[in-house]
């Protein structure tokens, strides 16, 4: 069994939890304004993680995810306000809404569930869209939700909003929620659904061609994202104690977008780091705006410096660090020692050609055996279907390994037997030495060492560079020269014709005698 994804996932979880806990433990001794800032930062962590679950994994920039925060905030807020307060503040409210009341934390959960249900319903028409159309449609959804909340007087109390929402007492629940959100996002992105979604982000057409139901994976992420963001919205309502439609509108969208983009769009570590980093910067800029003493100097910036600073940071990140401050990598550094341990253990031994991986049991080996090649299907699906156990020992396994048509890989001289991973099982030319292939256990560095190893082969060997060249030349000479490749009709046809080769010195001497070097350029 391959434990590496598990260990890496644990590493990411531990590092992010520590980051969150630092923010949460700071809450106790902090001043009152700082406490609000810290709670707000934790809410932003939850919201950005929720935003990341859909946007980061699917690559579809949805500007409408904040509307699920709105749904969660209103549902959670309405449930948390006491019936007596509701009856006095909004007499026009339907009776069942007035009587509905739960504890604040249950209200948050129900808010999240409501947002999830809303996302499930919305996903029916919306999930087919991708690219620009998806971004614009989701933006329109944000507008529609905003207009409805701003005008639906009976339930949302219109522009004046909800008031009297019970305030958050302490930060423990928020801390637990943030860690749970990180765990959910991590589990999702390590699951087969998450990996298929990432595959569709990297190359939509290829993922579809390989049989990934992109819409289904996207829908799962969409609903999960809405659930997490709904919870964040409900917490936001309980942090502020009052809720107006503008709270969760374009400014909040921009804020969360900045956090994700600055942190690193395609990694969970980026989402968490980005939201904490931007919260920190926001707080610093807020203090500058309010006026603060720094090294004996009283610094006081003009009003609005906070937003301008954030916008500048986002723009600079986009231009200079397009992958964000984490370079869109996960914090897997804690897993490095374990990784090395596992890799050492699974290095191929002379009596163990598969490197911990039982070659004779592999589906490829079964396919290659003449008896079973007819009965077995020729398509194997590794990361999506139930053959996951079959590539666990393979050191090259990663989520991009998708179902691939199997060819019989040539048995390698002195190397590992057929390995079922994606690259090894591609149609391989017989003259290629097995360690030439990328990611092979013996190819330590992909290209350079492969070249060295090939040069160290005996001269007659099929993997030797000279043999490779001869083979290529024969192949070219044997095939018909395409009309476009025959550049000079009055000259004998080049036996190894390729347009580039004509420019080589030997060829010029042999076939282009009399024509000066620069003549071709002048034509």
């Amino acid at each position: 069994m391959n434990r590496r994804p598990v260990i890496r996932g644990l590493s990411v979880f531990v590092v992010l939890s520590v980051l969150i806990s630092v923010a949460a433990l700071w809450y106790g001794p902090a001043s009152l304004t700082l406490q609000t800032t810290l709670a707000q930062a934790l809410i932003y962590v939850v919201a950005t993680v929720g935003f990341y679950v859909f946007v980061g994994n699917s690559g579809v920039f949805s500007f409408g995810q904040v509307s699920f925060m709105t749904v969660g905030a209103y549902v959670g807020g309405l449930l948390a306000i006491t019936p007596a307060n509701k009856a006095t503040a909004q007499p026009g409210m339907p009776a069942f809404l007035i009587s509905a009341h739960t504890s604040p934390y249950l209200a948050c959960l129900i808010g999240g569930l409501a947002a999830g249900v809303a996302a499930l319903i919305l996903s029916v028409p919306l999930i087919r869209l991708s690219g620009i159309a998806a971004s614009l449609t989701s933006f329109a959804v944000l507008q529609v939700v905003y207009v409805v909340t701003a005008n639906w007087g009976a339930v949302t109390n219109g522009e004046s909003g909800l008031a009297g929402i019970p305030l958050l007492g302490n930060v423990t629940e928020l801390w637990i929620t943030a860690i749970a959100a990180i765990a959910i996002a991590l589990l999702f992105q390590q699951s087969r659904w998450g990996r298929r979604l990432v595959a569709s982000r990297e190359d939509d057409a290829a993922a579809r061609a390989l049989g990934i139901g992109v819409h289904r994976e996207r829908r799962i992420a969409f609903v999960l994202s809405a659930f997490i963001m709904g919870i964040a919205g409900a917490f936001e309502a309980e942090l502020l104690g009052a809720l107006v439609p503008e709270t969760l509108y374009i400014t909040a969208t921009t804020q969360i977008l900045i956090m994700l983009v600055v942190g690193g769009t395609t990694s969970l570590s980026g989402a968490v780091t980005g939201s904490l980093f931007i919260s920190l910067v926001t707080e610093l800029l807020r203090r500058v705006q309010a006026g603060t003493d720094f090294l004996g100097l009283n610094i006081k910036g003009p009003v609005g410096i906070q937003q301008v600073g954030l916008a500048v940071i986002m723009l600079l990140t986009l231009l200079l660090l397009p992958k964000g401050i984490t370079a869109s990598r996960e914090f897997t550094f804690l897993a490095a020692p374990f990784d090395r341990l596992i890799r050492r253990r699974s290095r191929p031994q002379p009596d163990d050609p598969g490197g911990g991986y039982d070659v004779s049991e592999s589906p490829v080996a079964k396919l290659n055996s003449p008896l079973q090649s007819i009965s077995q299907p020729s398509i194997l699906c590794r990361s999506c279907h139930d053959h996951r156990a079959d590539h666990r020992g393979c050191p090259d396994w990663n989520p991009r390994h998708l179902p691939v048509e199997q060819d019989s890989a040539p048995s390698a001289p002195g190397g590992a037997g057929p390995c079922p991973c994606f690259r090894h099982s591609r149609r391989l030319r017989a003259h290629r030495a097995p360690w030439h292939r990328r990611g092979h256990p013996q190819a330590q560095s992909d290209r350079v060492l492969a070249g060295q190893q090939r040069r160290s082969l005996p001269r007659g060997h099929a993997g030797h560079p000279g043999a490779l060249r001869r083979c290529a030349a024969r192949r070219r000479a044997g095939s018909d020269q395409a009309p476009g490749q025959r550049l000079y009709r009055d000259r004998p046809r080049c036996p190894t014709a390729s347009p580039q080769r004509h420019l080589g010195d030997t060829h010029r001497r042999r076939y282009q005698r009399g024509r000066p070097r620069h003549a071709a350029r002048r034509r």
Binding site: V147, V308, L315
Partner: protein
């Protein structure tokens, strides 16, 4: 019947402004597949430019309102969009979002959030009464300016070398570059034109509303979006058609919806956009070049 025609006049006036804004977005989208969120802020900088020189003669006001957006458009192209021209659509979109946010907040920083009132064209305040209709002179000016700009733009695209380059770039940017079209020049020209259109649209809009505030770009960018997506992103006739369609929809919804529903008229407009995008993701009129290739 009079109400109907009155609403029609409103619809055509609104639609003209929307069409101008939509063309700017469509022009840039056609060439570099960027939906420029920051275009609304061009309207805003033009309007603030006008407030700075508001006590000068009307000609100076007009020139400043038109020139400021062009300068800002060229600057944002050079500083923000040129370095990441090769990035994917989503990154471009987010970048334009960031530029928009930046400009908005810089305006907030400099001019503060309180709206400023300004009367740009006092000469056009009067109305003409004819056959029971009341038509402000400004509406005539709006429609005339739009018509002149549309004709000028189509002549520019059809007859000049730069226009030809622009159409070629919109059709296939890579091939156009291989054939000698200067990428920087074409894109800068597209930004300059969109800046000019925003300037005109901003001038007309501010003449009508008389208010200038930092987030005023948001409203105009949203309607421009709806107009372009209705018409088909990247299609200039589509943007014009979408602009007028949106003008008709919003004018008649404002005029005819019962009052308890009319507060939701924006929501209905966006709902319409959502439905169009779901059924035809590339818009109602799809240019050949906008179809996605694998």
């Amino acid at each position: 019947v009079t109400t109907f025609f009155q609403q029609l006049v409103n619809a055509v006036t609104l639609g003209s402004i929307y069409a101008l804004l939509g063309i700017g977005i469509s022009l840039i989208f056609g060439i570099m597949r960027l939906v420029n969120f920051a275009q609304g802020e061009l309207v805003m900088v033009g309007a603030y430019g006008a407030t700075i020189v508001q006590h000068r003669s009307w000609l100076i006001i007009l020139l400043v309102t038109l020139a400021t957006p062009i300068v800002f458009a060229l600057a944002m192209e050079r500083i923000a969009f040129r370095p990441i021209r090769q990035a994917n659509d989503a990154t471009l979109l987010v970048t334009s979002f960031a530029v928009s946010y930046l400009l908005q907040n810089v305006a907030l920083l400099i001019f503060s959030g309180t709206p400023r009132s300004i009367n740009l064209a006092p000469a056009l305040d009067e109305s003409v009464r004819a056959a029971g209709l009341v038509i402000p002179k400004l509406d005539f000016a709006t429609v005339a300016a739009t018509a002149v700009l549309l004709v000028a733009l189509s002549l520019f695209l059809a007859r000049t070398r730069l226009g030809l380059h622009m159409r070629a770039a919109a059709e296939d940017f890579t091939t156009a570059r291989l054939l000698g079209v200067r990428a920087n020049r074409v894109i800068a020209a597209a930004f300059a034109i969109s800046g000019l259109l925003c300037g005109v649209a901003g001038y007309l809009q501010v003449s009508q509303t008389g208010q200038v505030f930092p987030t005023m770009g948001l409203d105009s960018i949203l309607v421009a979006f709806i107009a372009t997506t209705l018409g088909g992103l990247g299609s200039l006739p589509g943007a014009v058609a979408g602009g007028y369609l949106l003008g008709v929809i919003s004018a008649f919804m404002g005029g005819y919806l019962p009052s308890n529903l009319s507060v939701y008229s924006d929501a209905f407009a966006y709902l319409f956009v959502i439905i169009v995008l779901i059924t035809r993701p590339a818009g109602l009129i799809t240019p050949r070049t906008a179809r996605s290739r694998v």
